[in-house]
């Protein structure tokens, strides 16, 4: 993965100080093991993992929005809903719900385009509130549409006649595919020129536009990618639940989960949302039968993390051990590494 950008007479520039081959190998092995799980374990295990993959996808997209584009959204459930209902409508037209997932992602991005022109004019807290308003507006439209099952919801067509074991395995693979696509897509996006733009904008917006970065365009692309990702996650959600219901997909609780996961895992890194999701599921599994305690512990963890570990668990790990599974920075060879001492790390902390 260490692609050399310039050789011979030029100074050698690579995409990280060390080779990224190990990270890639680990990734491939993990995905291969996860892929084969339906052959190895019971469906209740893969059922839990489907929810985990949905949350990883959502948190990865929220991290892209907040951690890279500085867009704090509490309304991504708008696109969970659009994705879910897109699958519902397409399935009604005879398209397999599984094949409808990429279409649902595309439709979510298309719906997001006009919304982005409205939202990206707004600053910070106004943007956040407006994203929620958009989500609520979408829900109102659905509740008033009898063809979409209105407020009561409707079963997802196109799923009957499928052997339950096979259906569960397909659902699992679909969820895995969406999570991998979200992570890989984020990685490739951050490695591209756009990724560097976003980091520059995050560090200093005025400085970024003064060197020619189209700030609003960069944010719009991220917003649309995040809409597509949330749409795909919503599509998987409705496939796993076999039923669409407005209150289930448009609830602001989704935003709470995404924010919680992204914060405890660590904003501004690709690995953070994965770590955050695993922690979240462990907490959920151990506290699920404790009722209100579950929410109290969740809230307490979030507050403590925000106060004491602002860069999240992954930030802690990568600072301590200098690990970076997804290197997106640049390295100019033949030049000095930074002087040693406390503070920033020996590799571009861009990821």
């Amino acid at each position: 993965m260490t692609d050399t950008a310039a050789v011979g007479g030029r100074q050698r520039v690579t995409r990280s100080r060390r080779s990224a081959a190990w990270g890639a190998l680990v990734g491939v092995v993990v995905v291969a093991i996860l892929f084969s799980l339906p052959y190895l374990v019971y469906a209740n295990v893969t059922g839990v993992l489907v929810n985990l993959f949905i949350l990883v996808s959502l948190a990865t997209m929220w991290n892209l929005l907040a951690g890279y584009a500085g867009l704090i959204s509490v309304g991504q459930q708008a696109y969970i809903g659009v994705g879910a209902y897109a699958v519902f409508v397409l399935a009604g037209d005879g398209i397999s719900p599984f094949l409808a997932i990429p279409l649902a992602a595309l439709i979510s991005a298309l719906v997001g385009l006009p919304a982005s022109f409205l939202l990206l004019r707004l600053r910070r807290e106004y943007f956040a509130i407006a994203t929620w308003v958009v989500a609520e507006a979408f829900q109102l439209v659905v509740v008033r549409s009898n063809s979409l099952g209105a407020g009561a919801g409707a079963p997802l067509p196109g799923m009957v006649g499928l052997d339950p074991a096979l259906r569960q395995a397909f659902t699992y693979w679909a969820a895995l595919a969406v999570a991998v696509a979200a992570l890989l897509g984020t990685y490739l996006l951050l490695r591209s020129r756009l990724g560097l733009d976003l980091t520059a904008v995050r560090d200093n917006e005025v400085g970024a536009r003064s060197v020619g970065v189209r700030v609003v365009r960069a944010k719009r692309i991220v917003y649309l990618v995040a809409a597509a990702g949330a749409g795909a996650a919503g599509a998987v959600l409705v496939i796993s639940q076999l039923f669409v219901q407005p209150t289930a997909v448009f609830t602001v609780q989704w935003s709470a989960y995404m924010i919680f996961v992204a914060l405890i895992g660590g904003l501004g890194s690709i690995e953070g949302p994965i770590v955050g999701t695993v922690i979240f599921f462990l907490l959920q599994q151990t506290l699920a039968d404790r009722g209100a305690w579950y929410l109290i512990v969740l809230g307490a963890v979030a507050v403590l993390m925000a106060m004491w570990v602002p860069r999240g668990l992954w930030g802690l790990i990568s600072d301590r051990f200098g690990i970076r599974l997804f290197p997106v920075g640049y390295w100019l060879h033949g030049m000095n590494p930074p002087a040693t001492g406390p503070g920033p790390k020996t590799e571009s902390p861009q990821a």
């Binding site: 310039a6 100074q11 980091t199 560090d203 200093n204 003064s210 100019l332 030049m335 571009s348």
Partner: protein, 248 residues
């Protein structure tokens, strides 16, 4: 480009409430010109740069770059046309390396990709004596290095007009001398330079034209030593060390 002027300001006026920071300013600059701007604190020097770079829009008047009106373009678009500026208070991308700071400029300002962009970034770092620090996070840089990074990033956009806002402020004599040399090299490549500086000595050796700005108006414009000797300019700097060309 054409033989027409590089930069033209036509009666540009900018007000903040009752303060007039640019009072119907007109200016013509040819390619390769090096112009110095001096003036007391609050004279409107940074605001003038902001009007040229697009960080501010004028209340009235027009800014033209290479014959083309740019008054309605945003800073990023003007940068891509060839206007680059540095900021008095450095605006580094703290969490990116020095090399990446300049690379963004090469990507977006100069419109390059791949090896062409990394080549430009590497050569600009060498020119501004920052190549040793290429892989450092910008947050590790000293003040002098940050000022150099401002300059490097502006150069990375491949400008034809470079606006320098007090890049020498706070530096020692030898550091200033080194910087003047770098700017001389830039100028020798045919890039137009406008340099705002309180360190008049740095300017006098380099520029062939000096403008004095006070209260949003040009009160002197011409050969540097002649401008510094005019009564109006002397009056503005009465009691300060300007007239003597001291470096602070």
């Amino acid at each position: 480009m054409s033989s027409g002027p590089l930069l033209e300001l036509a009666s540009v006026t900018k007000r903040f409430g009752s303060i007039v920071v640019a009072d119907s300013l007109s200016l013509i600059l040819r390619g390769g010109d090096a112009v110095g701007i001096v003036g007391p604190n609050g004279a409107g020097k940074t605001s003038l740069f902001a009007l040229i770079s697009g960080d501010l829009s004028p209340n009235s008047g027009e800014v033209r770059f290479e014959g083309r009106p740019v008054t309605r373009l945003d800073p990023a678009a003007r940068c891509r046309l060839g206007i680059a500026r540095t900021y008095q208070v450095p605006r580094s991308f703290e969490h990116m390396t020095v090399f990446e700071n300049v690379l963004v400029a090469a990507h977006r300002g100069a419109g390059l990709r791949g090896g062409e962009a990394t080549d430009l970034a590497a050569s600009v770092l060498e020119e501004t004596h920052l190549h040793e620090e290429a892989n450092w996070p910008a947050s590790r840089l000293s003040l002098l290095q940050r000022k150099r990074l401002e300059l490097a990033r502006a150069l990375g956009t491949g400008p034809r007009l470079l606006l320098l806002d007090e890049v020498a402020a706070g530096l020692t004599e030898p550091e200033v001398a080194g910087l003047v040399q770098v700017v001389e090299g830039i100028r020798a490549r045919g890039i137009g330079v406008i340099w705002v500086e309180h360190v008049v000595r740095a300017l006098v050796g380099l520029v062939d034209r000096l403008i004095c700005l006070a209260g949003g108006r040009f009160i002197g414009d011409g050969e540097p030593l002649a401008v510094l000797a005019t009564p109006a300019v002397k009056e503005v700097f009465l009691g300060t060390s300007y007239g003597e060309g001291n470096s602070s």
